[in-house]
Symmetry: C2
Subunit: 310 residues, 2 copies
């Protein structure tokens, strides 16, 4: 590998986080650029490239992209948060970075790689990571390598159907996992609930519900919140056990704000998953743990992409 | 590889099919032994080993086993059809076959390997095979290698939940794919139906319903059979698209008796799956095709196991 810094870039709709990652997987330098949907693609890439080059000699740079990438060409299909559609970021970067090795992957995949290499799945050979946010992102690491499936685009676990007569999903299907187990779905249940405890929390927060309120109300033993949480965990356990039935990971890492709920989420979730997997006493049941790197996972994972591509 | 014959063994509850497989993947010699649940494990293995050795010099022998195998040791967990529980077939075979290389895999995985190497998925790099029978077996081939997941036990797609308030499954969960899309479930729907057409077919068959009757009655435009078939295909399409969302295979191969239904199954199934996958116009939709090797797939796949283990 050429001498120089190993850089990871986490591209988001609000900001671009750039970090220099050391040999022992620490972020040793950081820059954050503002970003917004109105910035044209070419202008944004120029700014990012200049910020990267300003950090010194670059050995390699990895990007976590909030979009599916076309297999092979790695053209961005549609980064909705950035307003980028069918953009060839590798080609555009080349104008500024020449022959510097550039690695691209989906941002959720980068976060999973970060957790694998330096976070909650360190020293684990196979792990599934689910990020519970607006939707549900997911990645699977197989024998230390990022698994992107036969078509090379990675997982879409949020759109696995778990209740075929259930709630309509924004994708057009019915009963997708993310309509039941995303952070958004938990927030919507809080909003829909007629629990006085939840209603007070929402009104005290300027009418804005969030997922954390359900955990807080349940900790106060509010019956409605208990029920919402129970159903949320049951659905999440179904999604996880469906994925265990095909991937058999050694560990499951949960990312996204919901994972901050700690034991209140993880103890009943682990119990529910154990009940749903096949022959847990013989083949084991993966342990389910929260992600630990937070926003750093994406930067670290992006910088490490060269090590984990299958 | 040592000189000698490459042998595949397909172990079933009624019979053991043994075949010599040529370099060009043809079965050039066959022996079938009767089998039943009352034959003790050690006695059965002795008979099989003797039959294999009687075929001449053996280079390698692969076994398709109707059970999950414990990763690493490959001890049979529970071959229900054979009445074998916690049996170490490799150790037992060694008594008769000495150092001859022995490969073991689940029988459904062997069939998938056979279809990949010489059947419906020939020249395809990644394929998902589903076998619709009493339950639903499944295997995924990734870049020409058999994918057994992080825990090494392979897929259990039949127990992915697709309808969490649906029918109870024999496994104890609710709404597993195989309660809706196995051949058994189709047969049960035929039995349950009050369609006079289906009822006549059943009574003409000594009161025994089967899955084919639904296709036959639907071909006669029986409204009840049409509805059963429509629902069956919808559920199967949900299961397949859930699996496409995680594996992204290039092709999906359907095995088991139901796959003999031809266009009546495959045309509406392909259409339904196309509607359910993400961005088919951009990332493509796998073609869904019937298995073509029938019972030979298991023998051919077992003989080829040395080539496809990941």
């Amino acid at each position: 590998m050429a001498a120089g810094k190993r850089i990871g870039v986490d591209l988001g709709g609000m900001s671009v986080k750039i970090g220099v990652v050391s040999e022992d997987n620490q972020i040793v330098e950081r820059v954050t650029l503002p970003m917004n949907r109105n910035k044209p693609f070419k202008e944004a890439v120029k700014e990012i490239a200049e910020a990267v080059l300003a950090m010194g000699a670059v050995a390699s740079v990895g990007f976590g992209i909030p979009s599916t990438l076309i297999p092979g060409s790695q053209v961005i299909i549609h980064a909705n948060n950035l307003g980028w559609k069918h953009c060839d970021i590798r080609k555009e970067l080349k104008k500024y970075m020449g022959e510097t090795p550039v690695y691209l992957a989906n941002d959720a995949d980068c976060a999973a790689v970060g957790e694998l290499i330096h976070g909650a799945a360190k020293k684990v050979k196979s792990c599934l990571m689910l990020t519970l946010g607006t939707g549900i992102g997911g990645s699977y690491i197989h024998n230390g390598k990022l698994f992107l499936g036969g078509n090379g685009i990675g997982l879409e676990p949020g759109h696995m159907v778990i209740h075929d007569h259930g709630k309509p999903c924004s994708c057009g299907k019915i009963g997708c996992l993310e309509t039941y187990a995303s952070a958004t779905s938990l927030m919507e249940e809080a909003e829909r609930s007629n629990s006085p405890v939840l209603q007070r929390m929402i009104s005290e927060n300027q009418g804005r519900p969030n997922a954390k309120m359900v955990f807080d109300a349940s900790a106060m033993n509010d019956p409605a919140a208990n029920l919402i949480l129970e159903e949320y965990i049951r659905h999440l356990a179904i999604g996880i056990s469906n994925l265990i039935a095909v991937f058999g990971p050694e560990r499951v890492v949960i990312g996204g704000g919901v994972s901050a709920a700690g034991d209140q989420l993880f103890i009943p979730l682990q119990k529910a998953v154990y009940k749903m997997v096949d022959e847990p006493e013989l083949v084991g049941c993966p342990d389910i743990v929260p992600a630990i790197l937070g926003n750093d996972a994406g930067i670290i994972g992006a910088a490490m992409l060269d090590k984990v591509m299958m």
